[in-house]
Symmetry: C2
Subunit: 336 residues, 2 copies
């Protein structure tokens, strides 16, 4: 007991201070501004419309959090924040943090209520509109959400392109493709592949713009539909990324079964998410993502590789395996 200190507890318990400071910095455009060039305090205060009272504390907090650098009073981005938090770069991942800032931070304030009731705490709370209905009804909100999903899928997309035996397959479909980061990455890295992005019809213009920007429109097309209700196109490989965790167990099984039925013999499914380690004690991000599904969805939850492989075998896949991708994400592969 003599080794016990309160530091770890306090660091996590007041961790929302650092978190919200970064979220506000993304909202205020700190990193996009500094991507245009380093700047001193008065310049940043004016450009970002910061009040004098706390501008310096705010920026120096970001320095202490290793999100900015400061030399002789001149602030600049770190290599990480310059690459990932400059809105002008295709590598921008701030979309997910913009969404977290505008929506999730507040909704997570009701976590205790969610843990007691088992009910979601977002726009859909108390019978309000469903998350996806809300997101997909407003073009600007939809674009923001889809960009955010691209941002958090980029690393996984590259890993999937490299770690799956694509030379043995010709066609693929990304179910719940959003903007199309995975289809674009696969088609770019493997010129023999043609693919389909499948998502709700409202996604079409955003998807087609993203694919056309990359010059891949001859090999990657969009199919609009509802993946629970509409038939799935015939392809060799079906991918579901950050999709399965949105749904309850019955719908998870239904989606996997529908994919199995649509695949040819020899076809494969790739499911990826922040897959929880089988012993449920290492992947904190995956476990917390599952609590995020509590906040965001009616019945969704994250799951272990073992869980997913068992569901895949139940619906008929013969061989299954789990492979880590990047960060907290892994993929589960099933062969028909």
């Amino acid at each position: 007991m003599s080794a016990a200190t309160p530091e770890h507890i306090m660091q996590i318990g007041l961790g929302f201070w650092a978190s919200k400071t970064l979220l506000s910095a993304v909202e205020l455009g700190v990193f996009s501004t500094l991507a245009d060039g380093p700047a001193d305090l008065p310049t940043l205060q004016r450009t970002l419309a910061l009040h004098q009272r706390s501008a310096r504390d705010f920026l120096d907090s970001l320095v202490a959090l290793r999100l900015l650098e400061r030399e002789n009073g001149i602030y600049s981005n770190t290599p990480d924040t310059d690459l990932y938090l400059d809105r002008a770069k295709p590598s921008y991942i701030g979309g997910i943090l913009e969404m977290a800032n505008a929506r999730l931070y507040g909704f997570w304030g009701s976590l205790t209520e969610a843990l007691r009731s088992g009910e979601l705490q977002n726009e859909g709370k108390g019978g309000g509109e469903d998350l996806f209905a809300a997101l997909y009804a407003d073009p600007d909100r939809l674009r923001g959400f889809l960009t955010a999903m691209s941002a958090i899928s980029a690393g996984a997309a590259h890993a999937i392109a490299g770690k799956f035996p694509w030379s043995e397959y010709k066609t693929f479909m990304d179910l719940g493709s959003a903007q199309g980061m995975v289809p674009a990455t696969l088609a770019h890295d493997h010129p023999h592949l043609t693919g389909i992005g499948f998502d709700l019809p409202a996604v079409k213009p955003v998807f087609e713009e993203f694919i056309a920007q990359r010059g891949l429109e001859d090999r990657v097309r969009f199919r609009g539909g509802n993946f629970f209700e509409d038939p799935l196109p015939e392809v060799d490989v079906i991918i579901m990324g950050h999709i399965l965790h949105d749904w309850d167990l019955a719908k998870k099984r239904a989606l996997l079964g529908k994919a199995f039925d649509a695949l040819p013999k020899g076809g494969a499914i790739i499911v990826y998410d922040a897959i929880i380690d089988d012993d449920r004690r290492e992947n904190a991000f995956g476990l917390l993502m599952s609590l995020n599904m509590l906040i965001e969805t009616a019945g969704g939850f994250d799951y272990t590789g073992e869980d997913c492989q068992a569901w895949m075998r139940d619906v008929g896949f013969s061989r299954t395996r789990v492979e880590p991708l990047v960060g907290p994400d892994s993929m589960v592969i099933g062969f028909k």
Copy 2:
């Protein structure tokens, strides 16, 4: 650039997930319950009134965050959480996290607005009641706040008792004493000392109960008053812990000047806070605490050791020095 990854950014940006999970666990009494004995999932779900949907994800998230242990399906506290987050133990520091959960998490949601306006975002927003007026008007809320302040002062109190030359002094006063953790610790560790806790009159019953529980009422007394308006008692050493950062520069200087005037020649002042390192790039907690003062007070801010020593010398203290205490806290000492 090839070494850049988004992990550090995502870990901080979504850090509010882990933070709120711990805050909800404290609110729900997870650690106090487990202090009575380890328990399995069904027992905890029932005892804590958790909905079945996410009870396991919630508890396993706490395992992955190293805040709980789990062996063969039986959950138990870690040594840290058992000592610091069991409400029944005097070492409980959960009061500050209860306050963070009930108040600060939500108020910090308005950080961007605070950074733009320079205005506080708590109960006092838009001309509402002042933080201290709000806290001190309601006995339950006051007790919670004072307990929280004891919790975050305990480590510093022990360090101050050990690192200051108390043998050279006989009397002290803790200005803004709250419940009395510092006076109690000093009187306990140094039997030759007598001391005064000075705070608003509403604090008296909570202070006297705390001191009496420790059998120190013959050497530690309470003095009710407003430290800006009322005269200060004559003592050898004046202590101000987590006080100076609440106020703007003019009030900081006024408080230091008033302390100087009240001290005898040879007397000393001890100021402690989450003192920011002079280069303002290491003590992230101190810098974020200063943003917390933006959220919580009209003009408060945290400061470096150099700042504080300069203010002390300006009001007349001849020798000053800074000494680290525990965690992010340091003390600045001034001798008259």
